[in-house]
């Protein structure tokens, strides 16, 4: 097993005159046996990073180090890595068995060794029954299992996953997700996993690396990322439904600190932020900033049993989406929309006036200009 270190990776697809820079100085340390998830919107450079690690893409500058060895000049096949692709990349003219055995055959493993490895991997993944079928007769989930199996038989130092679940249907995706996590626990291997799906990122990763526009924005454990996003981008990217942003200022009103929405409308939000927050935000008083509040931190006044300090506002229910245990409420304060996530104990009527509260302890504030968390 191995650690992977990326040092100041730069990748320019264009040339000096017409640059098309995909990676702008990536520094990342992936520990031995860690499950690292690279997440970000499409075009953020996460796949390029993965392909650079695999050696499928050359670098403009920087170093890729696996287990202390610089890998820049090593061919993909000699890096001792395995990669699982989004479209499974199974060889269509070979049977499942041949697909799994291919890499071993290329490495001139003895035949019985190949057989025992393939069979044990197949057993672990529960694909023994279709070892002799051709890939096109399999379902998406089955194909991805084969692709996983193909990676496992190699017992590589590092597993690379390039959005392996995005072609699967919802159900298969959930089951494969746990499958991969279990696999990681069992193999105790270093895995690097690229996805654009924040749910996968949150549920699977030991750590998450959020990327945007060729740079790393934040690397941390999932809950830290969720609770303490370093900027608006991360806050918005992680969490579903998305975090609500409200632009405004903190002003002093009658000796107390109030958040005032930057909106001329009569219905603009305005609420007391309490003492604790007031102290914390002292330095930013009067500046334009952005308030972030996650949907689950907005409560229906009637159900609010919270002891912690809250704000209190009115809004009109535009749509309610019952999701089962909880309901998404699309509210409109009159000045702007808000999404709340509440328990499904109550039924909500369209256009119903609702009094809601926000958990002041869980409010996020960002600099309006830089987007950085305050």
């Amino acid at each position: 097993m191995a650690s992977v270190t990326l040092e100041n990776l730069f990748k320019n697809y264009g040339d000096a005159k017409r640059p098309n820079v995909a990676l702008k100085g990536i520094d990342l340390e992936i520990r031995d046996r860690e499950f690292m998830v690279l997440v970000g919107p499409s075009g953020c450079g996460k796949s390029t990073t993965l392909r650079v690690i695999a050696g499928l893409e050359d670098l403009t500058s920087g170093r890729v180090i696996i287990d202390g060895q610089e890998m820049n000049h090593v061919l993909p096949r000699d890096r001792d890595i395995a990669m699982v692709f989004q479209n499974y990349a199974l060889y269509p003219h070979m049977s499942v068995y041949e697909n799994m055995a291919f890499a071993l055959k290329m490495r001139r493993f003895p035949a019985d060794e190949i057989r025992s490895r393939v069979e044990s991997a197949a057993k672990a993944l529960d694909i023994t029954s279709y070892l002799h079928r051709k890939p096109h007769t399999l379902s998406g989930g089955q194909m991805q299992r084969v692709a996983l199996g193909r990676a496992i038989v190699r017992s590589p130092r590092v597993f690379l996953f390039d959005e392996p679940l995005s072609n699967l249907d919802a159900k298969a995706r959930v089951s494969m997700r746990t499958e991969i996590v279990k696999l990681h626990d069992r193999l105790q291997a270093t895995m690097i996993y690229v996805t654009h799906d924040q749910v996968e990122a949150m549920t699977m990763g030991d750590r998450i690396c959020v990327m945007n526009e060729g740079k790393i924005v934040q690397v941390d454990e999932p809950l830290n990322i969720y609770n303490r996003p370093v900027n608006m981008f991360v806050a918005a990217f992680i969490g579903s439904p998305q975090i609500n942003f409200i632009k405004g200022r903190i002003v002093s009103e009658e000796g107390r600190s109030c958040f005032v929405e930057q909106n001329d409308d009569a219905d603009a939000l305005r609420f007391d932020i309490g003492e604790q927050l007031s102290l914390r935000m002292e330095a930013h008083r009067g500046k334009t900033l952005v308030l972030g509040v996650r949907p689950e931190d907005i409560y229906d006044q009637r159900r609010c049993t919270a002891t912690q300090p809250t704000s209190q506002q009115f809004a009109r229910v535009e749509i309610s989406e019952p999701m089962g245990p909880e309901t998404y409420l699309y509210l409109n304060t009159g000045a702007h929309p808000l999404i709340a996530r509440v328990r499904s104990n109550d039924r909500y009527q369209t256009n119903e006036q609702l009094q809601f509260r926000m958990d002041l302890a869980k409010l996020h504030f960002f600099d309006a200009e830089s987007g950085l968390a305050l």
């Binding site: 650079v52 050696g55 499928l56 893409e57 050359d58 670098l59 403009t60 500058s61 920087g62 170093r63 890729v64 820049n72 000049h73 090593v74 061919l75 993909p76």
Partner: protein, 295 residues
Amino acid sequence: MNRHRKAVAPWVPYLFVAPFLITFALFTVYPLFQSIVLTTQQTIGPGFERYVGADNFRNILSDPKFWIAVKNTLLFASASVAIQMPLALGLALLMNQPWLRGRSFYRLAVFSPALVGSVFVGIMSAIVFQARTGMLNRSLHALFNFNPDFPWLSTYLMPAMIIATLWMWTGFNMIYFLAALQNVEKELVDSASIDGAGTWQRFLHVTLPAIRPVAGYVTLISLIASLQVFELPYLMLSRLNSGPENRGLTVVMYLYQTGFNVGDLGYASAIGWILALLLIFLSILYRRMSRDERT
């Protein structure tokens, strides 16, 4: 600078193109350049050459025979493509009916002439189109009391050539259309019929736009091929004879005649380059149009 090594050794791509590139450069690109040099010369074969500057082009433009060839070629190309495309599409539509039995037989039957090659079609046409004794006139006379002396090979040479081409290539193009039709999403057609579109409207608004890229490709390829038509009239008219009033003379045939019979490779190359420029222009036009369509 710390250059990262590529996933493949830098010589690998060259290894793959090399066999093609070397022969291509030697046997296509080099002669191509040679032909550019030739356009400024008048020759008697490769042995005798004389520099004439732009005279070849000047002479071609005032050569009535060249213009007859251009007229014939344009007529042949436009007529055969204009008839062939709808015909091929029509056949493909008939063959695309889901309930049709014996599809593979019909497909093979209609496609089979493409197997024979224009050499044989040329020789055969020379026999089939003959007045009185030819199969066509004999059949038409028996069926419709059509003029048994109908002069396919003189006055109506161009229609005869077009018929021969249609016979040969319609089935071939039909294959493209058939494949395109089978790729049209059924949901689209279904949704159109739910929207109340009749057969004709469905065809016009759903099927036709869906197969448009293929239709464009097939049309371009057919147009280019028919603008280069040579073997068919060459063998149909058995060589040098380009028919009375040069009715069977095409641009490439004129090129061949001047180059290989007269031996003026320079004049021939100049003709060839005029045609080549036209073809290049056509394909650029096509690429523009298909690009505009996509955006």
